[in-house]
Amino acid sequence: MRTLVIVAALALPAGAALAETPVARRAAEASVAALQQRSAAVRAAWQPGAVTPARLTGLRVPTAGATPEARARGFLRAHPDLLALREAVLVSTRKSRERTVVRLQQTHAGRPVVDRVVAITLDGEGAVRSVINATVPLQQVKPSALDAAAARALAVRHVLGRDDADLPTKVSPVVFALGTQGVEGFEVELSRVPFHEHLVVRVDGHAGEIIGVRDEVMH
């Protein structure tokens, strides 16, 4: 069988960080094993080849903290190798009758990493009951060659076909990630028809290219 690498642009120089991946995986596996030693009910699910687990259920790990967020962060600090999540911001805390779910978004140098979120479920006593994980340790993040103004101009030209300095927009610096590789970029929000559309234009800041346009109005 032949194998094709189709993302040469994101590939690291040979050996640059490759050795870290098995190490991170082994550390995460050891962390899972420690949790399973405390309770045989703990189940872990891994995506093929993943560095960190995608799902942990059957947990009952007590935590301490004044808020659900503090408890969730405390759990991650107590198990640093489980997800290797070094930097995260709070997305939401949702409470229902029996439990609270805390969502933390992975960040890199202060920029949110798009779609990389972990959901930690706490029971009524504050114990962690499940971890649903979409974060992945990043081994490299390519810096942006664009600033926010340039990204905005690129996005507006792409959508309108011309410049428009007056069009209200919101520009958010982010990191886009694929596997363990990231690239700094921007999400530019704008609308051509009020109420009818809410476009989010994704700009790869390193390559200086548009990588997506999405209408987020949900019908």
Partner: protein, 623 residues
Amino acid sequence: MKRALLIGAALVASACDDGGSPALELEVDAAPAPVDAAPPAPDAAAPDAAPEDAGPPPHLDAPLAWIYVDDPVTDEGELTQVALARTDHADGRLTNHAVEVFNCLNEEGGVVATPDLGGLMLTVSLCHEVQVARPDADGNYLSIVPPADESDPNDSFAEVMMYHQVTRARDYFFERFGFTDLDISLPALVNVQLKVEPPLSLGPFRPNADGWYPLANAAFFPKEQWDLFASQFGLPPRDSDSIIFFQDQKDFAYDARVIFHEYTHAVIGFDRLSAQRVVDRYGLNPSTFSMHEGLADYFAATLADDAVIGRYVGQGGSGIRDISDRKKCPDDVVAESHANGQIIGSTLWAVRQRLGAEVTDQIVYRALEQFTQTTTFEEAAALMIAEAEAMDPGLVEPLRAVFAESNFEICERSAPWVDFDVDRVWHRLPYTVEGSQSVGIAGFREGVPAYKQFHVDVPAGAQAVRVTWQAIAGASFIGQPGPLRAPLDLALRHGQPIEFTYGNGVRMDLDHRVTPPLAEGVQTAVLAGDCLPAGGGRLHTLFLNTGADPAQIVRMNAEVLEALPLDGTPIIDCGGGGPTEGDAGLPAEDAGVPDAATGDAGVGDGGAPEADGGLDAGTADAG
């Protein structure tokens, strides 16, 4: 409109006797309407508010009103008299703990903007947001009924429907699951239209004679979207999400299940299932965002106890979706979120048929609580199974059995090549292959994979497989669809699907990659020789788009051939030779035509097999 006596009803919740999850019951109102009660005729409707010379109407705890329990079609035009939830304000405007309803009137007073569209100055006016509906002199709202013309852009019946049905949905989620995130008087706008001067046709939108643009839809508007809209008009930001119901020939607020659908979007929010697509072992996976739609359909249906969504606003009374119509992976996988959402919607409806509404709703909601922005069908199924097991281990087997019927838990996303014609499939949607400027994911620089693969079972002894497809460049939001500028590539693998892993690069496991020539939007090739599994077997294929724009495949076909064709169709043998003119039935290499477009030797592996040094640490994550 038919009129009938109907009883008042209020949604209440009561706990199960066994101490389990609370049950939801419809309880007949303690003070049903009198036997001869009937709504007033639309044309003789009383004024909305009490006369000025009378004192203010009493502020009732449970004022009566007429509503459609479902919609005008399902209810056969009959209105039902119900007790509304108490309003927050003494004047009876329709605000409570669940919703704050605004009627967007076609009159001056709404916000106005004057955008400059490339030198063309426009005046865009939004209808005027006002809380119009008020109680009658007796404190009830019984004078408010549907107008004779359901395209009336200012009617207050839409306000009453929205108030009652949002409250009903809020009570369902609260009583059944303890959901309180939306106990915020969710702003809900009805009768929304825009006016643009001078009047122009804006894509599909054309103004009425009075200059107002009707819009046939409804939408959930997260707070952030309102804020951007508000900044265009110099308005203050809002504290919360909102739901917007537009007005066209039909009033979307008359359809309770559409209201439930939009409200469920608000329940799910943007911190769950908001990723439009993710990557996985088979390429791009569209299941995440489509679950936002599918769950909105499921909860709307279970609330209504009926699988049809939008029976009134859809064409011909058949609804816009029917989740009792089973859809499955991979056959029904498409990029469009509402259509793709029917896979989960119909699967959960089938579970509901098997396990009952009470149990199914709990399983689904408790799993949903833990979803991230990128949860997929497979992950959702795993969480639902875990929740079922926690509730009662005996639920797991029947749940998995229903999941298996639609491949919801485990889906190898490779469907048989079929004679596909976009005009003859149930969803009327093309197969989309995203481009580098539409995929939204950085890194697919050498080709964006399609959402699903297609396979052909090649009999032993078959000489070739002819594949043909027709595609257009679909620009989705930008510009107009046009001819495909760059041909699509086709990845091939024998015996098993093409698979991706994501580590320090993206690795695609395949056998060959070919590029049939593009002519007038059509690509055709005869795959032969090494392209086919030796001795027969399954040939998996995956479209790869190397262009910037998404490609929309509108027709495709595959045909197994017992002999090489003589009709001049390019033959690709994947053995180092390129596409050839199939003459005299000679194999491609015998034709002696130099390589021009095959992917494998020249492009397919880039001369660098295993070039990533066996990066088996890649993650099939949700990028």
